[in-house]
Amino acid sequence: MEAVQGHDDHSHDHGHGYQGGVMRWITTTNHKDIGTLYLWFSFIMFLAGGTMALTIRAELFQPGLQIVEPEFFNQLTTLHGLVMVFGAIMPAFVGFANWQIPMMIGAPDMAFARMNNWSFWLLPPAGLLLLGSFLVPGGAAAGGWTLYAPLSIQLGIGMDLTIFAIHIMGASSIMGSINIITTILNMRAPGMTLMKMPMFVWSWLITAYLLIAVMPVLAGAVTMLLTDRHFGTNFFNAAGGGDPVMFQHIFWFFGHPEVYIMILPGFGIVSQIIPAFSRKPLFGYASMVYAMSSIAILSFIVWAHHMFTVGMPAAGLLFFMYATMLIAIPTGVKVFNWLATMWRGSMTFETPMLFAVGFIFVFTMGGFTGLILAITPVDIQLQDTYYVVAHFHYVLVAGSLFSLFGGIYYWLPKWTGHMYDEKLGQIHFWLSMIFFNLTFFVMHFLGLAGMPRRVPDYATQFAEFNMIASIGAFGFGLSQLLFLYIVLKCIRGGVKAPARPWEGADTLEWTLPSPAPYHSFETPPVVK
């Protein structure tokens, strides 16, 4: 197939064209185009989910009900979670996989290029179903992003739209994962053995297996919800002999591997950035691979730590508590290896490195609150409080999102052919870091003091901390507009990027010119 001439707003040369305008993007089978589509889609969903978050924080700025009705507030918390998890974080990492994996393993494209196109184009309809559910009678799903029965059985048609959206996004993820696994296993350049693959590729290989194992389980769970709602089955309906707790078991069998799906590719990105800016090879490569694999395997046996209060027998509580604590060991190995990579390295702190080091700092804090929550008696006290909200935003925002930002700054010169504005990038990092902590650090105190999550109103003793959190949230949200500006500015122009803008970066994509040509590695490179 002939390649494509650049779109107007993509001034860099794509080669020779056969289709212009919108049709280029709809029909594209090029991994770089599809990666770009994924990244823009996820950024739009990120803004949508962020707008919901800011509406939530505006309501919580003061005690009492000021801005939204409680019913609408519940819809906002639910959709904020769903949109950020399935619309923003996951597609963003798939976007990275599309752009980077073929270039990093020396392959010309993804294994199934047309299926790749389909995987992406399933997402916009699913996103529209989710966001459109606000407009139907009864509004969007309002039972929390975990869709717990029996609330999810009772809610209106918005819940059905959510279920369909999850089905579609699940199909998209599974196709994407099959593509990624096949590409990695079958299309590596000669000489690149599995244990020579860049860490980002390893992280995605493991993540893709997790996705194939658990996305179908979620699809099954929401299918059961659907039949309970409309076809007279009683999987979760207590009156008909079903069990609402059953839903929680199935959901979290998906849900816990899912949280590693959202962090492992982040680990991979950070493991590329830290060696590049420390000018040293990654410390303990093999142990990193084993650590990620053990995290992935352990993720299947810890699901019930999300449900310590459902009334499990003590043996179950103990098992899930110890299994959960076990995960701290491989995670600790990873953090140790990152620190050891930096040890006595010739470090410089460009924006990607700032985000990577910031990631280690705040992600580890989130990891420690995770350990605290793993302790059953403590968790029973803290279940469904703001402490939990603080914990998972430390690992999801400061973990996944910061690693995504770091990765974007790291590879933007390769993608666009221009250097981003380093000064603005660093300002973006510091604004994000400070406002992030302002928003979420105080939530630990709110949770310890007993403020429940998912409530639009609260007792007045929580007023000060909530006000601080809301100010932080607006600062954090607005800082991301600066990020949009930096990316757009970098796409439109700037200092010409050399093939290898980071002197410590040694993976295959840096042997290509910047911007990466539309078709790369048509003859595979040989890895020694």
Partner: protein
């Protein structure tokens, strides 16, 4: 095998894994049922057994009986006595009456709950209409028993226990 062929082969294998995991989600339901049955967890819809039949006559408990219906179930449902006084360890027999004044047969399932919740652990039901679904023909009235024992080990600060039943309609079964 050609490159394309081996890609397709891997694609098929991974699709099978995905399909199996979809089935596994459903298989969890009977799997959990079996595990709960074998280990005796979650046995609210099964008759309990009572070993210690020592009646503690020094202690009186008030049992309040409560009855509700849910989701437009067209039944009237009430206990014959609203409150009874019993001793811990005593075998107690109470009756409820349901009638179906509607023009068609309806199936329902009663779900018990206890106040205080903790008392549920000491409430041993030997027989209960909540163990099975109840089908009432049009216009039928039925008296149904509950036979229970309150364990004498019930904490001293519990003097009143509310046993509340809610009948839910079972859809799709006349």
């Amino acid at each position: 095998m050609s490159a394309l062929g081996s890609n397709r082969f891997l694609l098929r294998k991974l699709l099978v894994v995905a399909a199996v995991m979809f089935g596994f989600g459903f298989a969890l339901v009977p799997l959990y049922k079996k595990i709960c049955e074998v280990t005796g967890i979650n046995n609210i819809a099964r008759a309990d057994t009572v070993e210690n039949r020592q009646i503690d006559t020094s202690r009186w408990l008030t049992i309040e009986l409560d009855a509700n219906t849910r989701d437009q179930l067209p039944w009237t449902f009430s206990p014959l006595q609203k409150t009874i006084r019993v001793h811990p360890g005593e075998l107690v027999h109470v009756e409820y009456e349901i009638s179906n004044p509607s023009g068609s047969a309806v199936t329902g399932q009663a779900v018990p709950s206890y106040g205080p919740q903790l008392a549920g652990l000491y409430f041993r039901k030997l027989e209960c209409f909540c163990f099975t679904q109840q089908q009432l023909a049009a216009g039928e009235t039925r008296r149904m028993p509950v036979v229970f024992v309150i364990e004498p080990s019930l904490p001293d600060d519990v003097n009143t226990i509310t046993l509340s039943y809610t009948f839910f309609p079972i859809e799709g079964r006349g």
